[in-house]
Amino acid sequence: MAGTGRSGLAGVRGRNTMSGEGSRIAPADEAGVSAAVVAAHAEGVPLAVEGRGTKAAMLRPVQAARTLSLRAVSGITFYKPEEMVISARAGTPLEEIEAALAERRQRIVAEPPDLGALLGATGGGKGSIGGVVACNLSGPRRVAGFATRDLVLGLRFVNGEGEVLRSGGRVHKNVTGLDLCKLLSGSHGTLAVITEVTLKVGPAPERTATLVLPVADEAAGVVALSAGLTSPFGVTGAAMLPEGVSANGVMGPVALLRLEDVEASVRYRMERLRAALPGGRVLEGDESRALWRAVRDAAPLAVAQGEAVWRLSVRPSRASAAVAALRSIGARVMLDWGGGLVWVAGAATSAVHEAVMETARRAGGTFTLFRAPDPMRVSVPVIPDEVPALAALSARVKAALDPGGRLNPGRMRAGG
């Protein structure tokens, strides 16, 4: 869940207009969450909603006198490996879920990142499953298919009036009624408080291998990634480390293409991929896995204290032009999703922010300010503004779920 964790701004300059000093409630169960929301609604008190507080540095700081933590609403409630379904209370640490899945050789297909280091969070681990869903965070495997929001089969949540409600369920195909699961995924706790998540999970692959292919520059890199992704070989990761950026001893500029599947398939497909894209070398097993963990967590960006971080989602074919534009203002970049995801680190100034916004627009995509000093977070749009007709719908949908406007006010937009 998005929120205002006490520790969330460690390592980020400019602390703080945040509410860490205010009162803090950590109910033990869903009924307690409901009671806390009912009280806040009745008293007219805004609530900062958080899971384990690891993503507090994202987007805008919430102005709220009271923090509602889901930390104690924790634990796996249902797991059926043969049906590929797991349910857990929102505050359950991601590590706990991943460990339970690993025991049965399964995993969360969307590969949610661990952004603790990037966001300067300490003590929260990889965050909570509720937080991952509320932020709709997905890793490198997103390019091959599913985002976190695609894997949410069901949610239990408390709306802004304190009602305990459900959407979706525990089955894989369900089109019954409006899909509030998707609406709440990525809404950063501004519409409702997620209390339990049911996810579709998938088998862990028998084998993984990565083709590391030296490339001249971003343009050539994106072409190579595209060649991999448009091959019939089921590439599940397509990232690029530019010149001067390295991860686990792999030095840019390189394109990275990952295969994951049953033993024989990975062997065969890697051979074919190497024939189509000659000149690279192959990393296997643990080496491959460690490299993709680094890519997933944007670790190769090596962000310095005081720097701002943006994440751009763009049309892959426009990625290299976007990179050139970002370079010209002194920013550092890293590419994932075949060029469709551009991580950017740069000076935390409004001039750089303006340039990033313009670059995202020209690249036919969106941006999210992932990390910046507080004075910047409150003074710039941290996600793109909506056109007036959509902004009006946003306000009406917000009012439909949280009529008093109590939940995470100002988290995504000023005054919203």
């Binding site: 298919g145 998707k182 990525g186 088998p203 989602s313 969106t366 995504m412």
Partner: protein
């Protein structure tokens, strides 16, 4: 019978004026108001229900759709969106005082980009039309509803359509990048585009599967995927549904996820075999069709593993296709299942619940008992990997009693699906058909919450009324 709301007399009285207004916005052949020419629009894939609309309008551009919706909104006229009219849940069933806005004339493919792995198409392009436009380069659009030859992408988005291959590739919602969306006020809003992730609320996710309750989709950006090197199917027949269900669980738990995993029960096997002569085993109680992808050697390896798993369940017979032609022969019966049942019964209702796959044997046994109790036959075909059940209830539409029994039987099956942890609809949508069952799956506050979200888009309840939500409270703002 499902009740439809009374028409608004003031709208019926102004029919000519409304038709003239529409003709001013969509010139030429774009407005249909003659009784005989309205006939094709009086029903959809749920043909037991028929109601000619006030008029039909067939715009050719997003601008025309916007102008039409603005005009209808200003005149307090109800709107029923329509693609190809293949909905099996009555999603496109008209009302007497409603104007059907049909998108079939918007059928252009606007852009295809292989490097960006996307296609931008108008809402009236058929599902298969997208694949046809990109298959020359080895690409395809993944969701494949049985009606894919006819059904249109705009309708697929509205209903979040599935298909036999969504076990691997997901449903419509998982294969979209953006839509152009027109609100009831006539505002045109672009959501998403050529990029993967939205910042801000997931409008694309909310609109997908909204069954025309929130607005109309006129343009869609879909992901296109490079096809695997090949695919091949096998067939495995078992002596009981329990054993076949256990085999499904074992396959899913093995870590090898097939591209498709279909289940047919004995009545369905017999109906399909009589129709398609696919060589199905008539002595089996249940049969699985399993398809895998990859190169020839990969197919061999995967089918070998699945074969080994099936062997543990003492199959009556197994048949692994040796070629693409043999695969097609295996699929032939399954693909013709609905038509096959149509041959042995004057009419059938196709149900669409989803259940947890482990409940399959129990649910099939209960369906068998219900079938015996009400005296109507049922054939079951089932996307086994994801638990999406399609019981085909056989009845005679000329016999009102038979129809009433069939509807009650269908409702009982869907209630059973919810009872065992599933849902009312996996891919066909609620439409008018399952509207009154929504209270079985959702609590009153849950339905009220969905209604409030609907009202954020359509405060006057003009968009596709009498669908999705139980009629009480579905046509007027609920009391908060």
């Amino acid at each position: 019978m499902i009740a439809l709301p009374p028409p608004k007399p003031e709208v019926l009285a102004r029919r000519e004026e409304i038709v003239a207004g529409l003709r001013a916005l969509v010139p030429g052949e774009g407005v249909i108001a003659e009784t005989l020419r309205l006939r094709p629009y009086e029903t959809d894939g749920l043909s037991a229900y028929r109601q000619p609309p006030l008029a039909v309008v067939l715009p050719t551009s997003t601008e025309q759709v916007a102008a039409v919706l603005r005009f209808l909104h200003e005149n307090d006229v109800r709107v029923v969106p329509r693609g190809a009219g293949t909905s099996l849940s009555g999603g496109a069933l008209p009302l007497a005082d409603a104007v059907v806005v049909g998108l079939m004339r918007m059928n252009r493919i606007l852009d295809v980009s292989f490097p960006d792995r996307l296609a931008v198409v108008e809402a009236g392009v058929t599902n298969l039309g997208i694949t046809k436009a990109v298959e020359g380069e080895g690409f395809f659009y993944a969701p494949d509803p049985s009606s894919q030859l006819a059904c249109m992408i705009g309708g697929n988005v509205m209903m979040n359509s599935g298909g036999a291959h969504c076990l691997k590739y997901g449903v419509t919602a998982n294969n979209l990048l953006g839509v152009k969306f027109v609100t009831i006020e006539g505002e045109v809003i672009e959501v998403g585009g050529g990029h993967l992730d939205a910042a801000g609320y997931d409008w694309l996710g909310l609109i997908t599967g909204s069954e025309g309750q929130l607005g109309l989709v006129t343009e869609v950006t879909v992901r296109i995927l490079r096809a695997a090197e090949g695919q091949r199917a096998m067939l495995a027949a078992f002596r009981s549904t329990e054993v076949a269900g256990a085999a499904v669980d074992a396959i899913m738990a093995s870590g090898v996820i097939p591209v498709a995993l279909e289940f047919m029960d004995k009545p369905c096997i017999h109906a399909c075999e009589a129709f398609a002569h696919a060589g199905y085993p008539l002595d089996a109680e249940a049969m699985l069709i399993i398809e895998v992808e990859g190169s020839g050697e990969e197919q061999d390896a995967l089918l070998g593993r699945i074969r080994e798993i099936c062997e543990r369940f003492d199959p009556i017979s197994m048949r692994v296709a040796a070629s693409a032609e043999e695969s097609m022969a295996i699929w032939k019966g399954r693909k013709g299942a609905f038509g096959a049942v149509g041959r042995i019964s004057p009419d059938y209702l196709c149900m669409d619940g989803t259940i947890p796959t482990s409940e399959l044997p129990y649910v099939l046994r209960r369906i068998g008992e219900m079938s015996a109790a009400c005296g109507l036959g049922v054939a079951n075909v089932f996307h086994a990997g994801d638990g999406n059940l399609h019981p085909l209830i056989m009845f005679d539409a000329n016999d009102p009693e038979s129809f009433a029994k069939a509807e009650a039987f269908g409702a009982d099956i869907l209630k059973l699906c919810v009872e065992v942890g599933g849902c009312l609809t996996g891919e066909h949508g609620v439409g008018v058909e399952k509207r009154d069952l929504m209270g079985v799956q959702f609590t009153r506050p849950e339905l009220q919450q969905q209604r409030r979200v609907k009202e954020a888009f359509d405060p006057e309840w003009l968009l596709n009324p009498a669908k999705v939500f139980p009629l009480e409270g579905a046509l007027a703002p609920p009391a908060h």
